[in-house]
Amino acid sequence: MNVRRLVVCVLLAGGCGLTRVPSPPTAGTIPATDGGASGYQHGFEGSLQVLGSGPRSVFQYGYVKRIGDQGTIAIRMSNGSAFGLANANTPSLQAGPYGKKPEEHDQFVKEYFIRSGIPADQIARMRTMTQLDASGPISEGRKAKPSVAAYYSVLERGVDGIDVPDSFAWARVTADGKVVAEGVYWPAISGSVVTAARRFREQMSDKQRLAAFAARVRASNEGHVVIRHSSAFVDSPFESFASFDVTVVAQATSGTAVGASNEAARTETTPASSRQSVIHHYDESGTERLLPQEKRSVASEGQARAHKHS
């Protein structure tokens, strides 16, 4: 092999058959430090996601993937979040939802993820999402009748009764028991964070301490203690902390109304369509915290600008 060919092979490794697909994170339980909450890593092996024939491994856009002719499972190498997505015109998407009622769909999904390795005691509740379809000619006077096309069952996470709203495990299952979409991000939570959250919850259960804390941070005392962590869609180092989350409702055009309680805002005459809610996070010291996904990144903005001008 001459030097020129070697250089071309290095630069275009895929074309020379040298591309190496990295191994995804090991599927199964993610151990936590003492007193913490173990996590769960979803993997190719246990997934019921419809892929179709001829699945192959690919590393693309930061995801290691199994790609078939009907769908893909993609695992984000930076944080382990996993997503299964059917191709747009896969016939399985036309099948109706699993079960005769939403509860049966929920049960299927719950058992699927527990069997895969999600700790059953961390499932705080199930949430069913309903997909409806409707169609018709615009000229038709009467409105078309919508039909239920699918259910999505979402496992919401809790650790010792404390919600962890940034974690999720969800799936859509068809009438014949095939998974046509799924998403899992269930990272381990350290012992120090779980301990801090328990302590914070205990403090906020005292009405006087709660009122004093709310006054100090100029927030409503309608908040609650949760564990927040990095989103499934950021690549920065993992962060988690115990938070007193407060929802503030504001008019969409006027920015955030700091200190206005959710209920107070609802009593205003602002139309619902022009309102939005923002969740603020306060740690035990009363300091407002931002999650990694809530911080503007100079680095990523710089990359975006460079890409735009390249």
Binding site: A88, E103, S135, G183, S231
Partner: protein, 118 residues
């Protein structure tokens, strides 16, 4: 529809839109995960991966396509990320529509008594 393939938006019903930081990256991430996946479906599914479904209360993520024929409207609503870039599929009229929406509650009914159609 001036060439639009799909309109995708949030439809709050009893709640307010939550100003969450990762709604856009969840949606865009679907392209990176599977460029052959449906764009409208990706928008609907963002609800499942963001805290509280991204709506403070009850609501839906909604997508609709209009076109000159029913088949073109359906094809656009089912279109993938590659098709989205093809101007040949720009809407040529607004005679027919296909709509699809995902609501953050359990809804076994199939008539119109539980909600108002858009």
């Amino acid at each position: 529809m001036a060439g639009i393939h799909i309109l995708a938006t949030i439809m709050p019903v009893t709640g307010d839109t939550a100003n969450v930081a990762d709604r856009g990256s969840a949606f865009g991430g679907s392209w990176a995960q599977n460029p052959g996946g449906g764009v409208a479906q990706a928008w609907l599914q963002t609800m499942n991966s963001i805290p509280g479904s991204g709506i403070n209360g009850g609501g839906c993520n909604f997508a609709i396509a209009f076109d000159s024929t029913a088949q073109r409207a359906l094809d656009n609503l089912n279109g993938d990320w590659t098709r989205l870039k093809n101007d040949g599929w720009d809407a040529q009229g607004a005679n027919y529509y296909y709509a699809r929406w995902l609501c953050n509650w359990s809804f076994p009914q199939t008539d119109q008594t539980g909600f108002e159609l858009p």
